[in-house]
């Protein structure tokens, strides 16, 4: 129970409770687009049981609040993905799993969307092809940290506002 900013003691407490409950019950939509989805299934299975962290895969976007984009987003499937994202109720977060979803991956071709952040805002990028289940869990823990810090108003400089980022060239030295 912290009094931060000028939003008053009751509102901060309510926000803290909301943030706590949100970050401990992240329900992702069960949608897999390519090979990364296999590793996502592995994460949900008993070896790295995601139910421990309150992550339960839902069949409908209306009941979910995280979208794990696992796999290659080709141009044909991109409108469908956008529709699913828009059907999810607020607040919602997006994890971009694997190289394909984050930046085109090994397919720099005409038919592949070069990064899912061109159509929907992304919160956490996980490089890997595919990322191991531990890496995905680490990404989910990073997202939980982000939800927590966003609420408290700390380190907002490091955490970007959720707008689609443009693909940038590699930094010059």
């Amino acid at each position: 129970m912290a009094i931060t900013g000028n939003s008053g003691i009751i509102l901060t407490t309510v926000e803290e409770v909301l943030s706590w409950s949100r970050r401990n019950s992240l329900w992702p939509v069960s949608i897999g687009l390519a090979c990364c989805a296999i590793e996502m299934m592995h994460t949900a299975a008993s070896r790295f049981d995601t139910d421990r962290l309150g992550i339960i895969f839902r069949g409908s976007p209306r009941q979910a609040d995280v979208l794990i984009v696992a796999g290659t987003v080709v141009n044909k499937v991109a409108p469908m993905l956008k529709l699913i994202y828009e059907q999810m109720p607020d607040p919602k977060w997006v994890i971009s799993m694997g190289g394909c979803a984050s930046g085109g991956g090994p397919f720099p071709t005409y038919s592949t969307l070069q990064g899912v952040d061109r159509i929907i805002p992304v919160d956490v990028y996980i490089p890997g092809c595919p990322p191991t289940p531990q890496a995905l869990l680490w990404g989910i823990i990073q997202l939980q940290k982000k939800i927590k810090e966003k609420k408290e108003g700390k380190e907002l400089k490091e955490i970007p506002i959720r707008v689609p980022t443009e693909s940038k060239p590699i930094k010059q030295i």
């Binding site: 930046g103 823990i141 930094k171």
Partner: protein, 200 residues
Amino acid sequence: MVKLKYVERPKLNLIEKLFFLDFIKGLKVTFKNLIKRTVTTKYPYEKLTPPKRFRGTHAHRVKDGNEPPSFSVLEKFMDINTGESRCVACYMCQQACPVPSLFRIEAIQLPNGKKKVVRFDMNLLNCLYCGLCVDACPVDCLIMTDIYETAKYQREKCVIHMDDMSERGKDFDRRRLKEPDRIWIDDQERIKLWGQIKWS
């Protein structure tokens, strides 16, 4: 022609009907699994050590006296101090890579005629983690480490640079250079969980 075989349902006697004996037999399996140790790894608190050959984030070995003989030939033309990455900018890794555009390697010629690598960037978001670049490197510079916790909030943070790759390489060599090359580090634990794996 499909042949059908009809199986009679076994007749249950009165005691079996009254006390659900078959049901209890089935539940025995459930209870056995309830008490048994689970295979679940409690991830953030308990981490599996990946094998030495795990293909994780890339790193650069540094010049530390353990170089292969091919390095001493090329060293004459290079400006590399001890403790710096031993990359000689030969572009072999880029040639071998299925997605060459993820590398950004640049080298300059110093006034004394030696070559210096000024830039070695890799965009890990385009990488397949196939390890072909590691096999191609002639001076055993580029390696893959056991680091997989690389989730980032920004896309540009997924690009790795020469200095942090050298740091990672130093760290990896300090931890695991002397380790024998085996599949899993905790073999005894794994035998307990899944039994002995027989290699042919």
